[in-house]
Symmetry: C5
Subunit: 321 residues, 5 copies
Amino acid sequence: MLINCSAYQEGNKIADIPVPDISEHLAVPGRFVWVALRDPSHDELAVMQEEFGLHELAVEDAMRGNQRPKVEEYGDSLFAVVKTLEPEGDDYQVGEVDIFIGPNFVLSSRRNSNQDFMAVRARAEREPELLRLGPSFVLYTLLDTVVDRYFPLAEALEWELEKIEERIFIRGSQRRNIERLYALKSKVLVLRHAVAPLMEAVGKLYGGRVPAMFLGAEEYFRDVHDHLFRLNGTLDTIRDTINTAIQVNLSMTAIEESEVNKKLAAWAAIFATFTAFAGIWGMNFEHMPELNSVWGYPAALGLMIGVAGYMYWRFRKAGWL
Amino acid sequence: MLINCSAYQEGNKIADIPVPDISEHLAVPGRFVWVALRDPSHDELAVMQEEFGLHELAVEDAMRGNQRPKVEEYGDSLFAVVKTLEPEGDDYQVGEVDIFIGPNFVLSSRRNSNQDFMAVRARAEREPELLRLGPSFVLYTLLDTVVDRYFPLAEALEWELEKIEERIFIRGSQRRNIERLYALKSKVLVLRHAVAPLMEAVGKLYGGRVPAMFLGAEEYFRDVHDHLFRLNGTLDTIRDTINTAIQVNLSMTAIEESEVNKKLAAWAAIFATFTAFAGIWGMNFEHMPELNSVWGYPAALGLMIGVAGYMYWRFRKAGWL
Amino acid sequence: MLINCSAYQEGNKIADIPVPDISEHLAVPGRFVWVALRDPSHDELAVMQEEFGLHELAVEDAMRGNQRPKVEEYGDSLFAVVKTLEPEGDDYQVGEVDIFIGPNFVLSSRRNSNQDFMAVRARAEREPELLRLGPSFVLYTLLDTVVDRYFPLAEALEWELEKIEERIFIRGSQRRNIERLYALKSKVLVLRHAVAPLMEAVGKLYGGRVPAMFLGAEEYFRDVHDHLFRLNGTLDTIRDTINTAIQVNLSMTAIEESEVNKKLAAWAAIFATFTAFAGIWGMNFEHMPELNSVWGYPAALGLMIGVAGYMYWRFRKAGWL
Amino acid sequence: MLINCSAYQEGNKIADIPVPDISEHLAVPGRFVWVALRDPSHDELAVMQEEFGLHELAVEDAMRGNQRPKVEEYGDSLFAVVKTLEPEGDDYQVGEVDIFIGPNFVLSSRRNSNQDFMAVRARAEREPELLRLGPSFVLYTLLDTVVDRYFPLAEALEWELEKIEERIFIRGSQRRNIERLYALKSKVLVLRHAVAPLMEAVGKLYGGRVPAMFLGAEEYFRDVHDHLFRLNGTLDTIRDTINTAIQVNLSMTAIEESEVNKKLAAWAAIFATFTAFAGIWGMNFEHMPELNSVWGYPAALGLMIGVAGYMYWRFRKAGWL
Amino acid sequence: MLINCSAYQEGNKIADIPVPDISEHLAVPGRFVWVALRDPSHDELAVMQEEFGLHELAVEDAMRGNQRPKVEEYGDSLFAVVKTLEPEGDDYQVGEVDIFIGPNFVLSSRRNSNQDFMAVRARAEREPELLRLGPSFVLYTLLDTVVDRYFPLAEALEWELEKIEERIFIRGSQRRNIERLYALKSKVLVLRHAVAPLMEAVGKLYGGRVPAMFLGAEEYFRDVHDHLFRLNGTLDTIRDTINTAIQVNLSMTAIEESEVNKKLAAWAAIFATFTAFAGIWGMNFEHMPELNSVWGYPAALGLMIGVAGYMYWRFRKAGWL
């Protein structure tokens, strides 16, 4: 579906233009065309391919979707893929934005994503002095917007990890902790797959061999790269901490089990003495003088309780009870 | 066994030709020969070596089979090895395709594989404008076909992992989970050994120092490389997740055991009180007044059941039962 | 909040100057201006941006804070971010110092940190022959000061690890150990995030392609880099040791549990023999000749104690008790 | 001990020559000398050092032995160290071959190894057209021979791993499995120490900056490198699988223990009910009407067996028995 | 403390000279001065700094000590730090040697170390043809001596690991094993911190961009590097093996515990049958005909022993006892 199709001259929007006129506008020096698509059909992309002269392989990738984040040069144009992530229940809905950039055009095509870029375009149009920098600046604002939307997701993961950490040494919460740690790790992996390859790709847009189109905008792309680097660092820390937390959780399970075992052993010992004493006085020997004594029974009970009490005290002192 | 042997001029097939005529056709400018072998005998390869002037070491590799995926330059020709994988019960049948590429010939030799490349050749012959690009384009289509066949395998592994994950927190499924995780990891390793070295090898066919023959086709090989990169990322994620799942499975085993232990301890305690009380009133002291009371027995039973009930309630509240 | 604003000529302080005069002083050859801010407001930074001609993206970073440590070139000026850490209870208070360096100015802005750099400035002013080197030397002293403050933190972590290690093989301390190891690991991660990226960034200030401004001061930055390298090595060792200690702690838990289990098994066996013997002589068969013997009871008791004693001795010898 | 000392001209063997004549032959253009030593004494090496003008440090290495595999250039000659491995009981006997290569000589010296290179020399002498390539070809054949002897060792390790894997999920085999896995890992490490450094070293003999002597033979060394790369990949897989298998083995131990525990708990519960019931009817209350009934005993037995049977059925259904 | 201060001309020692004359001797072409200090005071170093024109930062490092091993260039001189290790009880005493090298001087300063370099100097003075190579050769001999002293330490660690490995599958040695493995790992880390950074640093003294002073001595430094590389490999193997051994030790703990558990379960079952039977015949029902039989008691005992014996046999067969 076509969302927008406008022509810009010297940073100012001239008009919304119909698709068939695109090639006409591309021919005018100092003018560039910015088109936005959403879940485009095969035919819509085919039209764009012709108007802008896009490379067949890039169009195929955009058609098929499900690409990894990347930035590829095709001659003097460029094809970028970024991922959009929206929380959906306990998981993410993963969408994709494919961006074609040429010296005088920008074509963005988003799939499976509810995040639009209206605000990006509106803000860009209010700043003609920057928009004058042309498609490379548009690419920067698009990337910047997408990357900025990753931050709250990463913070949510950090916050979730902290909540788990608060419960990690609490007795009896191991099962729930491990379940939440596992779910958290899955989400970290998804976010990392959006961030890490993009970081690597954006790194090629500044420093070293930069495509000519991006000279002058290098500092902006370095800024995006820096944000991605920071996100990546955060995700690495979360991942590292999750791994430790899983190990610690296992340790806590083992420690708690050994505590339960000690308790069990202590009570078993206490009851076993009761049973042993009772068994002895329950034997049917004829000559057991204590059985005939009036004080036998209370004395026996007293002895049993005394021994049990002593054992209880000893176990308590040893920390088993 | 010889499958095909055809000569092409300007992208169009001229004729199926007999093997002894190959060198004749190679001498014609603008012509190239495409030969396909299957499980070739030593003699068949020897003939090909002579006709195409293949390097002894490459032929030896093709003869012995069981090579790792690679792309090697020999002078102005090139030797590529790729792996084919076909699901076979709970494992893969691993086959191999050896491809010799020269400026005017393609020789593919497949071993231990049921996947043919008929469709590849048929499609290539329907697109003479691409086939005109010559052997490098044929290599691209062969690689692309092989790599495309890896995707459903990787997806099957992902799907299997998801099925295991659904059961990972279910009580009593640890033994089955660990068995399936281990089998899955083996399959991931096999697929990775087909993908990772090939990714590295294909990376040498674009960017940097590219063999002259491949200039112009670089974007196609970058596309294959990109697919392999994506596959590799998927496999890394699966591997990482399997490792975590194995740890989580161990944790679940420990957690379940501790739950069982608590249950055991609770019931043991309840029964132990029964036994202790019964033991006491089973003692043979003469002076145990409660024994003579008419209400003694029901009162004793009541007390025992009462204490047991109270303990049951306490253990229940503590989550042990 | 403005802390300081002074102009220096040939390494000597001329005067504290008002902010609006900054640009005037910048115009004088051989003169440089050194400004220090603390938790600056948006407006204060905006003024500085105008006076010094700072790059918009760098100012934005300084405004937002929470950057990772880095050193970025913007044309002929430079933007550096370093972290300050102050122990706060069982955690660190993480602050940030943003430093803008140009050929004739230094602007440092610190946030969320109680560590001032008064002493740094005072010492620098006492050494005009070094201060004559200009802003690059000021950057060196600032970095050096921040990095020197990391060392006691790293040493405190090492010391804490040693204290945990002393208790790692002590019975019954597993729960406390694992809690402390986990807390320690968190702190190591925080410190590492201050050190590792800074090390990488400072590495760019000497050797290879050095910004012109820093030629001549390279050996100083290499020294800072070397300190960071050493810190990083220390942190890696701590991390490695923590990981091993966590594993060892788990092993100790398992070993102790198995020792408890053996003890439990041994005592259970001893009591079980008591109960079994008592049960036998508690049976109600009419013809049990030993029951009628006068020596039956003491003999039975003797037998029971004898067997129990023998078992106790055997278990003791086997190391179970 | 001197094994062989021969001179070759244009690929053909001229004669076995006495050691003192070596320098004479070296002076003849187009001639090269090939010497093989075994467990050489200090004096023998000293003679060789003089005849061939070997570098003192290389000779020292050859004298001391126990070097890591490497290829070092000394001026226009080269010193290579490779490891030989021979299965010896459950371990390897590790030997060493030191090879000195110059423009017109090859000196191989083997230590602590029963593998000779007679066959290598014999085959080389039958192929004068290759031997004409001179010392670099001799080095290739020596390396190729040594590396080919690694393959059966790696396959034996793979086969052993498979045998362990067959038993990994079998109850009660954990102790034996862990012992075998540990022994296997040791052997993998030994083989890896022969393979990995050699792979790195041989990589320097083709591509990039190749010593002049080896130009023309590059494809042969690439072939050896490729074999080593394959071996290395195999060893990495084995190592990775061993690590997983060790973890799985631990999981299986825990799972089996929890199964035993459940069984124990179930039987304990069943017996405990028996004991509890028997205890109740073993009490000495006077007024226990059921005791006087003729059907009391069989009914009690019936009840006890019934309850036990019901519990057995329930535990069975729950998979505990 | 000054240990030595001598001047050398053309490789021959001229005289021991007083410190104040150093600068005089430095002015003579072809002459170099070699000074050795031990635990130098601040003042001694200050004198040296002046005599040799040492860089302030290097002197500061030497003063403070506790540096990581490194080799740093300062203009045309060089500052090297190496660690000395001496076994001290179950740990190492870590010392440090700081070496300043210039075109015509060597200054070595050792701290906290009992290892002197008298023998090194004596041997060097006996070989004037090598000493003629000047300070770079002295540096080589110092490094070589320090590195050679690491080998017996690494071998001791290997030997200790082997002793632990011999006991790793022996029942009941887990606690001792884990303690020794942990202590061993600490020592490996200390040795690694001496070896790994030095290896990296020495790598810069040959190949690639070598400081002018070291041209000609490259092969000697490569030899030192090779030794360090070998040491590093040995330490990596030990570390890897320790990690596996820790895991195996945990597995052995779990396996032994499950063996103990099975034994416990088996004996508990046997005793439980005794108790259950005895309980039944201890009930007070009036009509229990077997109680009145003369053979009742022996038959009951026989039955109980028979059942117990049968169970014992079954458990034995199942490997539980």
